[in-house]
């Protein structure tokens, strides 16, 4: 597939920004900023970049829960939003996510249903982990999307780990994309650390959904470099569940250096570009942070007004 040069560079920059966002947010977390539990998706940056490169402002996108911050890359959002304390905005297609895993997939399916009922050409891309994929509510959402041929693309992001449990310990087969057959919808596995390959598959599935061809399931194979979640200082960390050497080996397949290499081989990226982009992105994040943090926060009085049946 021919991917335009700007798209390629945009995806590279997006991946770099995503990685640096994790680093920034982790620093904020370590220094006591109240971000709640901190989760990050290091090593999985290619997938949101490939998705966002295919979406429009009016489309809907749910990143995997550990990649919420990558929403900045979705048209309609900007970096400062990430630091603003609230990303939720149905207008820009982000309907939040469920801390109870899996219960959000049906909600996004409802967005796709509304698009179909109204005859718009909006599309929804909804991501979840291979651990979450076992939840019953996801099965129901996929049955429903298939039954009505809804414009939704499910992206199962298989980063090999659900908490401390390795994927291959739970599942008895090679290809999770086989799940799609059970719903009568197209399914495809892709190397989720290869952003160009992922882009191509997402493009195909999104276009099909946009033109009335119904839902599909993409399984993006990747690896979770980040821990399960960052504990608060002093809390116990158990990370001994990874086989010796596995993490180091996975770092060798980090999608960012991999893509950097491809781009430089294609003559699209020089060492100076790399450094420049790094610097620019760092500046952007610093500016976005100070902008975002200045935006007004929802306070107690506003909070208790929202969606309360009876105080």
């Amino acid at each position: 597939m021919d991917i335009p040069e700007e798209k390629l560079l945009w995806m590279y920059r997006t991946m770099v920004t995503t990685r640096k966002l994790y680093e920034t947010m982790y620093e904020m977390y370590r220094h006591g900023s109240s971000l709640g539990n901190f989760v990050a998706g290091e090593g999985e940056e290619a997938i949101p970049a490939a998705i966002c490169a295919n979406l429009r402002r009016e489309d809907s996108y749910k990143p995997n829960f550990r990649q919420t911050s990558c929403l900045f890359a979705k048209e309609g959002y900007e970096l400062a939003d990430i630091f603003s304390g609230n990303l939720f905005d149905a207008e820009r297609g982000y309907l939040g996510f469920s801390l109870a895993l899996g219960e959000d997939v049906g909600v996004y399916t409802g967005f796709a249903l509304a698009a179909q009922m109204r005859g718009t050409d909006q599309v929804c891309v909804c991501t979840f982990g291979e651990g979450t994929a076992s939840k019953g509510s996801i099965h129901e959402a996929m049955v429903t999307a298939a039954a009505w041929k809804l414009p939704i693309v499910f992206v199962l992001q298989n980063n090999q780990y659900c908490g401390g449990t390795r994927y291959s310990k739970v599942y008895r087969f090679d290809d999770l994309a086989d799940r799609a057959r059970g719903y009568g919808i197209p399914g495809r596995s892709v190397d989720g650390n290869d952003v160009m390959a992922t882009y191509a598959v997402v493009r195909e599935f999104v276009e099909r959904a946009r033109t009335g061809g119904g839902p599909g399931l993409i399984v993006a194979e990747t690896y979770r470099l980040s821990p399960y979640f960052e504990r608060a200082p002093g809390e116990i960390v158990i990370e001994g569940y990874r086989p010796e050497g596995e993490l180091e080996e996975a770092r060798g397949n980090d999608p960012i250096p991999r893509f950097r290499k491809t781009l430089s081989e294609l003559g699209l990226l020089t060492d100076e570009d790399v450094e420049r982009i790094d610097r620019e992105v760092e500046d952007e994040i610093a500016r976005a942070m100070s902008d975002g943090r200045q935006r007004p926060r929802v306070d107690y009085d506003q909070y208790i007004q929202y969606a309360v049946a009876e105080l």
Binding site: A90, D104, T109, A112, M117, S137, E140, T144, A307
Partner: protein, 344 residues
């Protein structure tokens, strides 16, 4: 001024009243849509509520009314997503018992998450189901789940006892910008007697209890199917010289505590009756609300607030056993008598 012409009425049963409410609201606002199992094919959105959807498919088409697979969680979750995207879905889940199988979508997504997400906009979803009490259908069909959903911050809970109230409250529910749990009751749905329903549109606001019978000796607060039994009990009690006032709450959330307090101020005795199991049932909430709103009234009660509800036992599939577990007319009579006696 012209003489006020007598408003036209038609005699409808509860299913017909629901059908009229659906039709009127779907005509009025094209964002109103609905789905559920067999809502088109069997014309039966909620078990025991047959024909409620008759003719809607023909009039509004397969985009606005849809049959779903057996996916209760997805029925609710898609309603949430569609509502966030600007539609006003009515999501059908057949029975209150089946709502246990999509509890997270209702309690935690619909009723909780969008506040947590600081969603400043609307979330207009009506969830409809039937309570199939009185026919030994077991808990999955007969459960009356109001106490559970009252405990979710964002859910209103509506449980009417007449066709008239059902129509007026359902129209209000469909126009509400936030989630509403709406329950019909089998014994209300199958009543032979039709009711006079005005042709002219009317809405009944939430949070207004209705005094279904006046009395001076004891206040019976109840809702849904139990209103029918309470009224029958009041009739019997009248024969024994006890004038019971029957307050039909109609909506549990919001709750019209004022009407209860006014009644209790008059009668001096409060009996709360519900069909659901007693332990952690809604009676405790009613009692606390009265105590909070009117400590003076509670202080001068002659006997503590009393509740009558189903025993703390699973709803059986035997009518013989169900009748001994769930309050019957005779049980209400007895409880009211005891309370009046004690208050003297």
């Amino acid at each position: 001024m012209a003489a006020n012409p007598k408003p036209k009425v038609r005699m409808l049963d509860c299913g017909e009243a629901i059908n009229a409410a659906f039709r009127e609201e779907m005509r009025r606002d094209e964002r109103v849509v609905m789905w559920g199992e067999d809502v088109i094919t069997m014309e039966s959105p909620t078990a025991g509520a047959d024909l409620c959807t008759r003719g809607l498919f023909e009039e509004f088409g397969g985009d606005r009314i849809r049959d779903t697979p057996v996916v209760e969680a997805a029925i609710i979750e898609t309603a949430i997503g569609a509502a966030l995207a600007g539609l006003r879905p009515i999501a059908h889940v057949m029975t209150g018992g089946f709502q246990m199988g999509c509890f997270d979508p209702i309690f935690a997504r619909l009723g909780t998450a969008y506040q947590e997400w600081k969603h400043p906009g609307t979330l207009p979803v009506v969830v409809m189901a039937s309570v199939l009490g009185g026919a030994a259908k077991g808990a999955d069909h007969a459960l009356s789940p109001e106490a559970l959903f009252m405990h979710s911050p964002g859910l209103k809970v509506v449980m009417p006892s007449t066709a008239y109230d059902t129509k007026g409250l359902l129209k209000t529910a469909i126009r509400d910008d936030f989630p509403v749990m709406f329950y019909t009751h089998r014994e209300v749905m199958i009543r032979e007697e039709k009711e006079a329903i005005p042709d002219e549109e009317y809405l009944i606001p939430f949070g207004q209890a209705d005094v279904k019978r006046n009395g001076e000796d004891v206040t019976i607060v109840t809702w849904s199917g139990m209103v029918l039994r309470a009224l029958a009990a009041a009739e019997e009690l009248a024969g024994e010289g006890i004038a019971a006032e029957v307050v039909d709450l109609r909506t549990l959330v919001p709750m019209d505590v004022d009407t209860i307090v006014t009644s209790v101020r008059k009668t001096g005795a409060l009996l709360i009756v519900h069909e659901a199991m007693k332990r952690a049932g809604a009676a405790g909430e009613v009692a606390m609300r009265v105590a909070e709103a009117a400590p003076d009234v509670v202080r001068t009660l002659k006997a503590p607030i009393r509740r009558l509800a189903a025993k703390n036992v699973a709803l059986p599939t035997s009518l013989r056993i169900e009748r001994r577990l769930v309050p019957q007319v005779g049980d209400i009579v007895q409880a009211a008598q005891d309370l009046v006696q004690e208050s003297m």
